[in-house]
């Protein structure tokens, strides 16, 4: 397992993307799979960073890379508020989660094998992404 903790700021999302892409390449994933991994990981981290900002906290975002037989599980955990609209340039929908998060969830759902986002005890949420090997 590899675990990274980043400050909840946008500049660090690219750091995670780069580190996990190179982990993916080390497993001989092809270019398309690495691209999908980069986007999905980036989306999860972006959601975490923006929702953390929204909640006004400075809690680090934790990223876990867990290699299992035939798959890799990436977990991104934050202490933020996913329902905040921060990061929406212009809101498209009337209520509920914002337009950017909606697009983000659509992207995550189609890029990974299995995707779920669940609340964490004590606040925040954890996104769990499963990639086939």
């Amino acid at each position: 397992m590899v675990e990274l903790e980043i400050p909840p700021r946008s500049a660090y999302v690219g750091v995670v993307r780069l580190a996990l892409a190179s982990l993916g390449r080390s497993l001989d994933l092809d270019d398309e799979a690495v691209d999908d991994l980069k986007i999905a990981v980036s989306e999860a981290c972006t959601n975490a960073v923006l929702s953390n900002e929204a909640a006004g906290g400075d809690h680090p975002v934790s990223v876990k890379w867990i290699q299992e037989s035939g798959r890799v599980v990436v977990e991104v955990a934050d202490r933020g508020d996913i329902y905040d609209r921060r990061g929406d340039d212009d809101s498209l929908s009337g209520g509920g989660i914002g337009a950017r998060v909606t697009m983000s969830v659509a992207m995550l759902s189609s890029l990974v094998d299995d995707f779920e986002i669940s609340p964490r005890p004590g606040g925040g949420s954890c996104a769990r992404l499963v990639f086939p090997l």
């Binding site: 590899v2 990274l4 780069l18 990061g87 340039d89 212009d90 983000s104």
Partner: protein, 190 residues
Amino acid sequence: VKKHTGRCAWFERFEHRVARRDPPTRPYPGSVVETLGRVGVSGDPGLRMRAYRENKTSRCPQYGAMAYRAEDEEDERMELGLDVRKVDSYSVVDVKGEIDVYTAPKLREKLIELVSEGSHDVVVNLEGVDFLDSTGLGVLVGALKRVKAHDGSLSLVCTQDKILKIFKITGLTKVFPIHESVDEATGNSR
């Protein structure tokens, strides 16, 4: 596994490139694995990535850009290039680099500036873009709404499969006119 918190100091000093043809048997000094190990994060020793300590001479632009990030967090979004040119009545924005949560604000500012200066027919050329995420899409959707408010248009130029895929997944291919070239977008193709 010990955790590393605070600033990602291990990333600030390095530029990276992938050295796939020469897989190391143990982490190169200065590699991500080695640096992760040094700061107390365990990694996969098979990682085939090498870091160079040279100062800002990027061997791989995609990764080289990373070195600038943490150094000057607030500004210096060096990795996103934005060049604006006029083609007939269109303003063409040639975007280069990665559009993510960190760089998207720069694109948003540029597009807002163009519209407020009276450019209501905008072409965003994404051919030089390596990466696009939901924040980038949000900026483009926002810009589309702005130009529409002035009876203008916003179209995109993109032929890269990995970028087109993002528009397909999110259903935005139905929202943006997507062209294969700037000439096509500006009506100059023959």
